[in-house]
Amino acid sequence: MSTFISFILAIISSMLIDNVVLSRFYGICPFLGVSRKVKSSLGMGIAVVFVIILATCICWPIYTYVLVPAGIPFMDTVAYILVIASLVQLVGLFIKKYSPALYKTLGIYLPLITTNCAVLGVVQGNTDQGLTFLNALANGVGTSLGFLVVIVVFSCIRVRLESANTPKAFKGLPIALITAAIMAIAFMGLQGLFSGIKL
């Protein structure tokens, strides 16, 4: 029972407290770039959630059962980037062949995910921190859901930002960064949630 609780706590912790975009800074490029329309950012978020969970499930066993016994743990980055890139292409292939509707919404983001820092950041972070598989999976799920939550919330704000009369120099990206800073402060408030939990 306690492992189940710690699994859920790990998900919530990496989703809200240690949010991937606002406090660990992985995945800022798509976060700033693509979050103009709510629907497009939702599509991007779902694609990232799908790829992160698949990537964690594949990369962690590769690291522990293949690379470490073989004595070449330094090859982890090469293996992860190959796994993530082939995952993205295979998922794209699958979507292209079997579901045109899904391709219409997600198709444009798939090539972007390979250069998305969040996916490799999470996978590399899992093994660098030496997490067990359960914790790594929880970290993956929590991080991707956190990414989805933040990117959708940010795109709602950003839609309203377009109509706000910001000074000429701040139009576009600078004002989006300042709002992201305010969101980061809000998320920082959740910092002490778990250090006091009695288990």
Binding site: S6, S13, F74, V78, Q129, G130, S195, G196, K198, L199
Partner: protein, 175 residues
Amino acid sequence: MANTKRYVITAITLGIIGAASAAIIGVTNLVTREQIKQNEQNKINDGIAEIFGQNSTILNTQSIENEKYTNTVYFVKADEKNQYAFRADGSNMYGKISLLVGFNELNQFKGISVIVNEQTYASTLVNEYIDPMKKADNKDEALEDVSCGATYGAKLIRDLVNDARSVVMKINAKE
């Protein structure tokens, strides 16, 4: 005909790139492997010096197999008494930490030092739990008030220290 020729060339170039990258990584590995091991060893020496004082020397090491991990016990000779230090590794949902836990010849808890700290909240763990333990003059009492805290951090440290204590007890009993 031209098609297969193109495939052959592609395959050869990719093969060359793959072989070249493997060679580059292999050579860098050979160059840097000793240095990385040396860095590890320096960290452990600093840890032991921190716990047992500067003039401590490592007599010999013995590796212990248990269900979770294989780790080494360091037999340390400090101020003419042979004492023990055990390196305990552990991880929780925030990441891995490995501590060097020192015991004097009467199996009393002597000190603690952090070798590897990959926790996401690395600094909070050190400030809240490990520094007070180091500063406290009565070590055993400091150990108690840390291990009664039931947060994830305290729980992890308590497990590691207890692991170390059990291993050192076993070795002492044997001798």
